[in-house]
Amino acid sequence: MNATPTFPASSPAPPNGQRDDVVLRVEHLKVYYATPQGDVHAVDDVSFEVYRGEILGLVGESGCGKTTTAMAILRLVQPPGRIVGGHIWLDGIDLVRLSERELRRLRWDKISLIPQGAMNSLNPVLRVGEQIRDVIEDHEGRQPRKALKERILHLLHLVGLPSRVYNLYPHELSGGMKQRVCIAMAIALNPILIIADEPTSALDVVVQRVVAETLLRVKEELGISIILIGHDMGLMAQLADRVAVMYAGHLVEIAPVRPLFKTPLHPYTQLLIESIPSIKERKPLKLTEGLTHDLRNPPPGCIFQFRCPHVTEGCRTRRPMLQDVHPGHRVACFLYHEAVASGGTSPQR
């Protein structure tokens, strides 16, 4: 029975450079949006990996390119946006080079999406069951109705929804239920990677928790890798195995979740984590001064120079590359690169 896909749940191996359980490798991805005043560099030279059975958090403020990165991985960048360069290796296939036809076959089968606005992501005129059924049938061909229904009910139960949801229309569900329908749909074909684009952003904290737990269960029981996009740092701390921080279309830091929260290296990550609101104390809000530069004309040198408290002359001319500072902890900032260099350990790549 292929209704319950069961991967062996793999525990993340210690991150030491190249690993052999890479599911997705994004290399030098560039996505630009055309505007009359020139191209907006929404995603500029972003590279990262996703390992089997892990949740990779992708954080950053609004407009930093998180969602664009995710959409590019799905090859769903909407015009006027376009992928300008780079590779997206999924299970050995470069998605950037695929034809529409090959892409269509691969979508959802290997990579699926839990969309940002689950509220409006379900077709309002089709019943929930039919919307899950169409994706299964379009990819696997026609199937006996009864077995198919069993399978869909099983999916719904897996995300904690009752059977009656099968026959309901989206507007008859609550926000949390719709989001879980989207999760059930995302795992229907047992993909190797799910992109969850702010899956909890429109939900209240209690429902957020339920959805978060559902995501964790999906990861643990099915061994599916997840890219979790969001700006809720608390949620990231709870769910993610590793976290990647984006700023103005660039990846500035990527590290396992504990070191990232305990000892954030990049000044932007530090500000981001300091600015997490606390219910215990009122902190002055950080990150208020300075604006992000115009994304059409990125400055030479470090992209964070205008807002960085530690900016030096060198930051204004040379751009720091993402480099390993500790094993598995990469950061794009000269503060650490020099320390690493002077410490004698040559930075890997």
Binding site: Q78, R105, R107, W108, D109, P115, S121, L122, V125, V135
Partner: protein
């Protein structure tokens, strides 16, 4: 929670009758607000034809009684309402011994047949063209050719009608220029007759379809473009669904809903006929009848036709209200 409830049905049907009552009352009031006396006008017209008429004052009085124009206004109103309820539309003023309801019964099938077919054809074609114009995957060639089909929209349909008659009736002689069926054909369900009706109906239908198609196409195009940006369309794409399934079930299926409402309204107004088209093609339908009524200041005939129009619109809105929840599940029979 879903499903047709008695409460809903009763409320809608009550609404239907209120609409008809209001419409009928308006038909009663408006001619009486207009200056002039139709009976006096008719008698003076007869006088002009026949010279002097004896006892014209008594004659006017008698005719007033005949047409229910005597007595105080409230009594007229009550009588009028009674005749409306019994669908007794009275005598035609211009074709006196003929009764209005008989004239309507003769004309209605022609109009309903012609216009229903033309409207449905225009709806289907127009929406398909509009949807294809908006669809991202429409091949470039087709996408560029489609707007050409809409150029007729800017031509008034009666102009197109004249053009069609000139081209296909007089020059090419493919279709007859007027009438609803050939003379000498036995009316009934026989092949000869049906063939003749289709033959005669083609040009009028074509002039309506070609000119009204653009209305549907542009509406549909707008709806589809709005639709393309919706989250569920992006998700449908991400799901790697068959493009045609996305087109039909995610695109057209959700975009067509407002169009269906508009269709019901235009089907409802069919009962009034398409005056100009029917006039140009001398098609014996409601529009032609209305034209004759207006030319002859035949108040009872005009009232009767307008009443049929109100009845038709109200009925199709009622049917639409009962059917919409089946098309759009977000609309329920519940209050609110």
């Amino acid at each position: 929670m879903r499903g047709l409830t008695w409460d809903y049905l009763i409320r809608r049907v009550a609404m239907f009758f209120v609409t008809i009552w209001l419409g009928a009352t308006l038909i009663f009031i408006i001619p009486r607000l207009a200056p002039g006396d139709p009976v006096a006008a008719m008698v003076s017209r007869l006088q002009a034809q026949a010279g002097y008429i004896e006892n014209s004052a008594e004659m006017i009085e008698a005719w007033r009684r005949r047409f229910g124009l005597d007595g105080p206004i409230w009594l007229q109103y009550l009588k009028y309402m009674r005749s409306v309820l019994t669908l007794d539309l009275g005598y035609s003023l211009a074709y006196f011994p003929s009764r209005v309801e008989e004239m309507i019964v003769d004309a209605l099938p022609w109009t309903v047949g012609l216009l229903t077919l033309a409207t449905l054809m225009s709806f289907v074609l127009g929406n398909l063209i509009g949807a294809l114009m908006a669809w991202r995957r429409t091949p470039g060639l087709i996408r560029n050719l489609l707007p050409l089909t809409l150029t007729f929209t800017s031509i008034p349909f009666f102009m197109l009608g004249i053009l069609l008659i000139y081209l296909f009736a007089f020059t090419l002689d493919w279709f007859p220029p007027s009438g609803a069926y050939a003379r000498g054909v036995e009316i009934g369900l026989n092949w000869e007759f049906i063939k003749s009706v289709i033959h005669h109906g083609t040009l009028p239908a074509l002039s309506i379809v070609l000119t009204s198609m653009g209305f549907w196409a542009l509406g549909m195009r707008g709806m589809m473009i709005t639709n393309e940006g919706e989250d569920y369309m992006i998700l449908a794409e991400a799901k790697g669904l068959n493009p045609f399934r996305v087109f039909w079930k995610y695109g057209i299926r959700t975009a067509v809903l407002p169009q269906v409402t508009a269709l019901a309204l235009s089907l409802g107004s069919i009962a009034g006929g398409s005056t100009l088209v029917e006039y140009i093609f001398a098609y014996p339908g409601m529009g032609y009848l209305l034209y004759q009524g207006i030319v002859n200041t035949d108040y009872t005939l005009i009232q009767g036709i307008v009443f049929m129009l109100i009845l038709g619109t109200a009925t199709s809105v009622l049917i639409l209200d009962l059917l919409l929840p089946l098309i759009d599940p977000r609309i329920t029979y519940e209050r609110g």
